[in-house]
Symmetry: D2
Subunit: 336 residues, 4 copies
């Protein structure tokens, strides 16, 4: 931690700052610059930097160690590759996850999964518990939805992922699901993160609607601090003032996260844009920018979907898109 | 719901839209304008407006009924006044809540509460379970903290409020706490909201960091839909690109919410700004703008606080501020 | 324009609204729904919709005609292709613009242009007048810079683009420059837009830091309303709360703009991210998403650049990137 | 400038960084911490910190001197009080500016000014050149508007303020206007700022829609660097994702700016909220938070206004509000 003193700070004020940080358990290293004296506070203690900023004569306090550790490439330089069945995320492998927004019935899931499976998709998505902004909207089939998801996936030899919303639901999810999703609204539900840190299945962690990348990394740190080593980041759009898309997909988060962290990052173009005709261009952008995977909404008959049909692709559209994505991936020397 | 057709939309396209919405259970009323045909879809069904926007020839679909009902003044025109002990929020009454960020020890709470009580504060705040962005930061005393809070409050005949983070904690909170807080990060933790809808104690619902007012109203709708009628909104700053304050306190949310909803709204200037010297001006602004209450961090010795000391007032500062606030309130014909 | 009345609005209130809009020169068409009466106001007059929203009993007023006309595909359905020398932007053609942030000297421009020209770049960029947030920073070489830019470009048979900041500079720019740039900070400098509407050279219009796409389209409308038909949009990142990149490049703006407007849209990954190692992934993303062009900062020796060297590519990096971009373009059936 | 090296940075890398900054004209002071070596770069040169961040082994570069100088309280500790006629802004004085959005006619201005003058308003506002997002909207009366403004103001012994949009308009404005306004969209029109730095009349500088406070201070620095010492900041709302108000009025900007700068800050609640019924609560909030002035839209007959009638107060509403504001001001020991 570096403490920058105001340009006119007296020796007395400097001394008081040094006394304060020593009393808090830090060593102090002073260096006098042309305009500003800078005090380096060295130590392992945790301190709220604003406590120092309030001292007389202090201009600014700068934290220099990163708050995240286990998620960082300093801790683990090489890519973490997460494998589910024979699909890999990370290390040059792009994983494809597809399926409807919501599990509606066995027939819907079966028809959709059959077509996806033929395209070569190995991981099936589908919501059983739905976070809805209105208490009056359809809230999902619950455990029945998870059962259907599992049954259909087994039929086509696929893995499954679904969103878990509550600590008490975790044991149920462990019975049915291969990758547990944490939704954007729960990215900082710290109790949920702590509990998911204790399981030994991959967690797909969506970025919060207004979360900074640093906060997102810290949420993954919660999971890793609990011992879970298989975390997949999922960029799904951030809230901005732009109203023509539901959210603004932050494609630049891909190279930013990949530089800092060894964990894979996938992109959800369906929720980010909220519009079917924007899913294909944004999927291509994500692959070209180096994403380690995609999670795309596909529905057998989107016009009858109970939820988010407007952003779901038809199976045929998806099939064409997947073909193009494979060609783009080969240009940048990656593979699905 | 109004469906605006594109200016060149053919009769055939208009007919297909009408067929579609009838099939979905709506009546259709057509009116032809100079440029655009508008179709009114009348009915009680729920439909994703994007499903219609994807139909050929449709320019835009506009929802005209508000998604919130119970929280609205249409449902209940007069102010809801929430009383806890002899403190009232709403209907011309401004309620004051004060106390430290975190319950650290009996002595700290006792010393702080004694001074606050002398100032006339009747509701004591203090966190027992702390939502922290880092898994390595102090997470609160847990149930022990709630016990201390209750014990100290009883000694000075005060009510207490504290943040609940998890469904499973609710029974414990009901034993100790008079107002249950939902934190900004849990504003859309829908499972928590549903469970809190079933209790019969007031809930203080903080606005999410990037929540729109409409989403905030919908979260309150969850609580009211469960049967809980005592909801207090709490504006605590939204995330913007400005970096000189922790968040941007949206003072205009006060008159906006008060016009739409009958529920009271209080303001938390401490978390919004994150800086002690900004708490007084923002508290005054909130009262002048018509807030129904304030929740202010006060610590007996902020420089030793385990959490957020930098934004906590000294008891003497608080006492002076409370005096000024009472004078401001009387100018706008309200009272603490 | 549609006027939605409150659910309990009396006939008297409805009548007053109708009288008001008739008096303003509109026809009124009334349709009664289950909950809400909706009044369609038909006419060519301009009215501030808030004036109606303030009338008693009005719930909401909804504008249904788009504010932009000439830039829209309703006005001109087919792509506008803008050609400068033998480079095309739009209609399946991707134009490449490259060069340093700032014109520093003849030698710098000559060395950079020589290498770019060898890669096949036909349009050279370089700032002569620089918009700097600090009055103490280097403000550019002025007209001397434009002269150098022109001279070097002619040597290698290239076209040039540079940013114009002021109405009074336009005649000077017309002497030297093939495409006039409007910077993000001037996107709503309406006097500048009006004057640029009167010239007959292409204008590259950058999106403002916090501009919505609709506002951006309206700024282009200013240019087209003046008679200039050659407008190129340039997405260069919007301001969000994310701090790890300078701005957030809104890749989804590409398909959104292309659907609404016939004008081409290019992407500036250098200013958006502010970081050299993010330029390549974001350039690839832009091409994959369907951009009609790129504008990339390249400097012969970035480590000595007077401005933005940190986001400038080395010529060799650029050359490799350009090769990859061409392959990506062919996958999506476009060409440079 | 402080350069924080990565935790594993080798001595060789540290040496290369030191060589680099010395070559750029800085002195280097090295201090080794437990985790990180920190290099202090001391000198007067200007350098883009990203140039250093790109060097091997560098974790982060931190600028420690503020980019603004003349606007800062370090340069001038005591409040700057700006006086126009007998109205003062700053130093405990709150200045009131009022009038219609736009000058429409002599009669409109005369009727409005008469009433405002009776309430004690001494500075009249009114737009003659209007920045409009649509080229098809009313653009103002131009010089004729300024003449009317001056004539009416002289009749009631008032000062006037109006928005200047272009360098070439400045001489005309100097003939008619006492305070020149720079609009939000021109806050970073640096050519305009430079020219206004050379005049010797007060400038009211509005905050840009998405400007940070630091950028706003830098725009004022442009004005002061040119020699103009009379700058008034004007907070008028920033763009956020909230849609129920036009912008989000950042009341906390008042104490933030007042702490850093000696210049006065006024608030424009009319443009910030865009709604008449929000103007009173936000005006009160601004005064209570310590604003040095207000600029409020008042129109003799808002329902006939050509522009922004929906946010203009009736003269009677304004009169009542002004009375309440004076009482609030006295509570916080300030005066109009």
């Amino acid at each position: 931690m570096l403490i920058v003193m105001q340009s006119q700070a007296s020796d007395d004020k400097i001394k008081k700052v040094i006394d304060f940080i020593r009393q808090k358990g830090f060593d102090a290293h002073v260096s006098k610059g042309e305009d500003h004296t800078v005090i380096g506070a060295v130590g392992k203690k945790v301190i709220d930097k604003r406590d120092i900023e309030l001292l007389d004569g202090v201009k600014e306090v700068i934290r220099i160690s990163s708050p995240y550790k286990l998620v960082s490439r300093v801790f683990k330089p090489e890519d973490t590759v997460i494998q589910v069945k024979d699909v890999k995320f990370g290390g040059g492998h792009i994983g494809m996850i597809a399926g409807p927004c919501t599990v509606e019935s066995y027939d819907q899931m079966d028809a959709t999964a059959e077509k996806l499976s033929k395209c070569g998709v190995k991981v099936l998505r589908g919501g059983a518990f739905k976070p809805r902004t209105s208490p009056y909207a359809f809230q999902g089939l619950g455990e029945e939805g998870l059962k259907i998801l599992r049954e259909v996936a087994d039929k086509y030899n696929m893995a499954v992922t679904s969103e878990v919303m509550e600590v008490s639901q975790i044991p149920m999810f462990l019975k049915y699901v291969d990758i547990l999703q944490v939704g954007a609204r729960n990215m900082q539900n710290f109790n949920l993160l702590k509990s998911l840190g204790e399981i030994r299945k991959p967690v797909l962690l969506k970025r919060g609607l207004s979360a900074t990348i640093e906060e997102w990394l810290m949420s993954a740190e919660y999971l890793m601090a609990g011992g879970n080593r298989e975390i997949i980041f999922c960029e799904r759009g951030i809230r901005t003032f732009e109203r023509m898309t539901r959210n603004t997909l932050d494609i630049s988060a891909i190279p930013v996260v990949q530089k800092i962290s060894h964990l894979p990052i996938v992109v959800d173009p369906s929720h980010a844009t909220g519009l079917r005709d924007k899913v294909a261009p944004m999927s291509k952008a994500a692959v070209a920018a180096g994403a380690d995977g995609l999670i795309i909404e596909v529905h057998n008959t989107p016009e009858t979907a109970l939820c988010d049909g407007a952003q779901s692709l038809y199976p045929e559209e998806f099939s064409d898109l997947f073909g193009e994505l494979k060609m783009l991936a080969s240009v940048i020397k990656k593979q699905f």
